[in-house]
Symmetry: C2
Subunit: 194 residues, 2 copies
């Protein structure tokens, strides 16, 4: 009986993508310092050395992860301030829409590794440029930056409690999901008008 050997075609871009995907999943669940390159390499079924080769090192890999995927360009969409609360509420509550969920993942990755010295610097830049900037610009006014920070605080806080601290106080499981969304819409609106 011959043993079946899986021969993987030699495809640089494919393995690069595999590494990137595996790293995304790992960084989504653990912090930068907790994740080892050998863990990622194992998931991607790839030799460890290839990571340092393709991405220049762990830091480069992390940078590639947070820049590559659907980055949190949530606030780059042409959206008026009026519909912002409802949009954000949907973003927080909604569970079905895969696209929105993908976008929230980037927030989780950022939250998880924000306290690591190396990853933190990368993340801080990303927050200022790609999130806080567009959001405060959208809101506008002299209090735009303040209110943008407030909105982002709520967003981050919900993310922290839910996915990192595993608090299930929001419980969008029941059919009262619409009610939950309405509550968040109200809260976001308050943050804008306070």
């Amino acid at each position: 009986m011959e043993r079946e050997i899986i021969v993987k075609k030699r495809d640089a871009v494919a393995t690069r993508a595999a590494i990137l995907a595996a790293a995304h999943q790992r960084f989504l669940r653990e912090s930068y310092d907790s994740v080892g390159l050998r863990d990622i390499a194992g998931d991607a079924r790839v030799d460890v050395a290839l990571i340092s080769r393709y991405f220049g090192g762990k830091e480069g890999l992390f940078r590639a992860v947070v820049r590559h995927d659907d980055k949190p360009d949530i606030f780059r969409e042409p959206k008026s301030v009026d519909e912002l609360p409802a949009f954000l509420a949907q973003l927080v509550v909604e569970d079905a829409d895969e696209d929105l969920e993908k976008r929230m993942e980037m927030f989780v990755i950022m939250l998880r590794s924000a306290s690591s010295p190396k990853a933190g610097a990368i993340i801080r830049d990303l927050v200022h440029l790609d999130v806080l900037g567009p959001l405060s610009e959208l809101i506008g006014g002299d209090q735009g930056e303040f209110r943008a920070t407030m909105l982002l605080s709520i967003l981050m806080g919900v993310g922290v409690l839910r996915t990192i601290m595993m608090v299930d106080g929001f419980a969008p499981t029941d059919d009262d999901m619409a009610e939950c969304a309405e509550r968040f819409r109200c809260l976001f609106a308050a943050a804008l008008t306070c």
Copy 2:
């Protein structure tokens, strides 16, 4: 010329306290995985081995840190729901009161290490028992838990943005600190009534 030698008295409880204090400061600024026991030992001017001896290991030390200090018993004080928004706003904005600042430090420590596998478990327990429990009990009602989670989300979010992501959008430096506090009071009140 005789070299001055500092002879440290052999005091178990004193060195234990020194280790605890050094660990507190380190965990306040970096994540559980980033901080090394040798860093802490160096700060406390103590041999590394003593840490594992006194606290049973790194995990035990971290547990001692988050349990020992002025734990976030913020919500254990007999406080009515009515004055809760103003109190939380003061907690967020106030910079002078050293006591409140000390209490917020525990939140930062929790946020920093929440994503580390080992420290995360310890923190999650702490959040549920010492923070979320009393807070939702204070608020009461069938929506108490939901609203408690909302309040804590804002609190956590502000902490994340400020001390970890280093976003200075709130800027309580100017004399408009009172205005800033009022904004937060309004936001917390909205979270309670939404």
